[in-house]
């Protein structure tokens, strides 16, 4: 795992005075971190999914609007709450009409950097997630596209927003375009953190304990999966590499993970690796919210993934690092938009 530039730095440090050695170690740590992680981009637009001001405005309204779902009382923001950094503080959320969701809410912040969406990777990207959610029996309860679009047509303020967002289309009010608009909005939701400032070269952006924690995070082996721009969310991995995960988490029921999607025995208990950005703000943890606190979650991961028993001091340092992955809430997420007024039909 040790890369050449680090070796050179270490060798150089060995021939200098101790204070210089410490500084050289710090430089080596930064350099190593820069090889493993990348800072967040300004936004998460792609060639396929561009961001325009009009799409973001429409998408932001739709994200906060409960009138699209069957009883007109749940929106994307019901589970992805700004107050909890895009999660809901529950082990597993309850969907429409008291229907239980099977897994914990992953945050939608920075989610455009994720290689697939959802714990089992059964959504290819943000737009696919929104599209499927719009007629999901748990998330929406709406039977089909017509039912969702019927709601929107009863709110006069939406037609001009769709027209502005998709000016070349004669009938822009479609599920595909709702997905594109909400996706465009979500692709603006990035949360640059002190760790990004550190990656840009500012050592002081991380306090000493956090830098120690970063070093332990690297040397313990966490970075085998938690790397890249998302500090995770770049690959699949089995949960429980060296020990069955539920023995450490107390999970009940036991989730077969991606196996239930692919039926491939190699995917048994395999999940998308979670991004650790804003992890200190998004309790509880894991696909079933079975672990309540971050120190406990760090210990569980070291144990079941790496066969390492972390002591309290090491755990504290790693947590001090993870806490520096918390960024500011984007203003266009923290602040709710004023929605176009309009009562949809009374729900009987």
């Amino acid at each position: 795992m040790v890369k050449l530039p680090l070796c050179i730095a270490v060798i150089t440090a060995a021939f200098t005075i101790p204070l210089m050695a410490a500084a050289a170690d710090e430089d080596a740590l930064l350099k190593q971190a820069q090889e493993i992680f990348q800072p967040l981009p300004k936004d998460m637009a792609t060639a396929e999914f561009p961001i325009t001001r009009e799409r973001v405005e429409l998408g932001r309204s739709l994200f906060f609007d409960p009138r699209l779902t069957i009883d007109a009382n749940m929106s994307c923001s019901s589970c992805h709450q700004p107050a909890f950094y895009g999660t809901d503080a529950l082990p597993k959320p309850t969907g429409v009409r008291q229907r239980p969701h099977p897994r914990h809410v992953p945050t939608n912040l920075n989610a455009g950097t994720s290689f697939v969406i959802h714990w089992r990777g059964d959504r290819t990207n943000l737009e696919d997630q929104v599209f499927q959610a719009l007629t999901s029996p748990i998330t929406s309860g709406q039977p089909d596209e017509k039912a969702v679009i019927d709601r929107l047509t009863r709110i006069p303020g939406y037609a001009p927003l769709f027209k502005a967002a998709f000016p070349d289309e004669p009938q822009p009010m479609t599920l595909r375009n709702i997905a594109k608009a909400v996706g465009a909005y979500e692709r603006t939701l990035v949360t640059p953190s002190p760790f990004d400032a550190y990656l840009a070269g500012n050592h002081e952006a991380l306090p000493a304990a956090a830098r120690t924690g970063l070093e332990k995070f690297i040397n313990t082996g966490c970075v085998a999966c938690h790397n890249g721009v998302g500090v995770g969310s770049g690959m699949y991995q089995k949960f429980g590499v060296v020990e069955d995960y539920w023995k450490a988490t107390g999970s009940d029921p036991i989730d077969k993970g991606r196996f239930d999607v692919t039926k491939d025995p190699g995917d048994l208990h395999v999940f998308r690796v979670a991004s650790l950005r804003n992890v200190a703000m998004t309790r509880p943890y894991f696909h079933d919210g079975s672990v309540a606190t971050l120190p406990e979650a760090v210990k569980v991961m070291a144990r079941v993934q790496l066969g390492v028993t972390l002591n309290d001091a090491d755990t504290r340092d790693i947590v001090a690092f993870l806490e520096r992955l918390t960024g500011e809430l984007p203003a266009n997420f923290a602040t709710a938009p004023v929605l176009p007024p309009g009562a949809v039909a009374p729900v009987k």
Copy 2:
């Protein structure tokens, strides 16, 4: 209903040139409006319910926090949504565990100016409303004070907020103090509107159509009930003075209103007069959300309360006036606070 200063203005106007007469009419209208209505205060603190920075900060967090309710998935802001000006765009909301609320959500904006709280006046003030809601089977589902406080004690960030808000109390974490804190927060939620600027003497704050609408609003008799600082919310009134209300609204079931609280036959179909501040942003209308649009609601009121059939032009003018009762959303309401992290126990 015509007051002396208006008579003088009208007489004066009759002896001047037409342009002057128009100006004099405008002055008379403003003067009359200033006698009927009052502008919003800066906040709604009282001697009994003072506002402190610490109480507002605590109260704002509690207002947005779903972890106090039985399944930890509904907060005050679930019904009083910023995106809908403190309402939820539904005829009647659904409470915890799919339990139906009996009446439409009244906005919490400016609610500290209301003489009583709720449609039937069965809450004496904001603090009483919060206190009762915390263990209401529909709103909260929590059985008692202990259950609510247990939740808060599992979220480490709350203890210091309670200590700061109620520094003289050894055990500040109580339902009474939750009510005081949320009440203090809500007492900051005022929405000064163009109409307030008009009442302060700026004619131009209301466009011509809105001033015409104001005149019609006065002369039709709406101001008999919709007056004062709230443009309503200062008294009780029977809904359906000249005609049974449900014949105009199609309401089903028929609500006996305050009669069910007092058992006084004089209270049959009596409700608190709604404030019309922000009324254009809070569809649908009436205690059961039975009417979807503002023009329709204005016509229903003229018909069943005053025996007047308003034509479309008069209705349009009155609506143009009512639309100028919309104020800016307070920043501390539009923007969700970041809540103290903490997972409460998994809900089984």
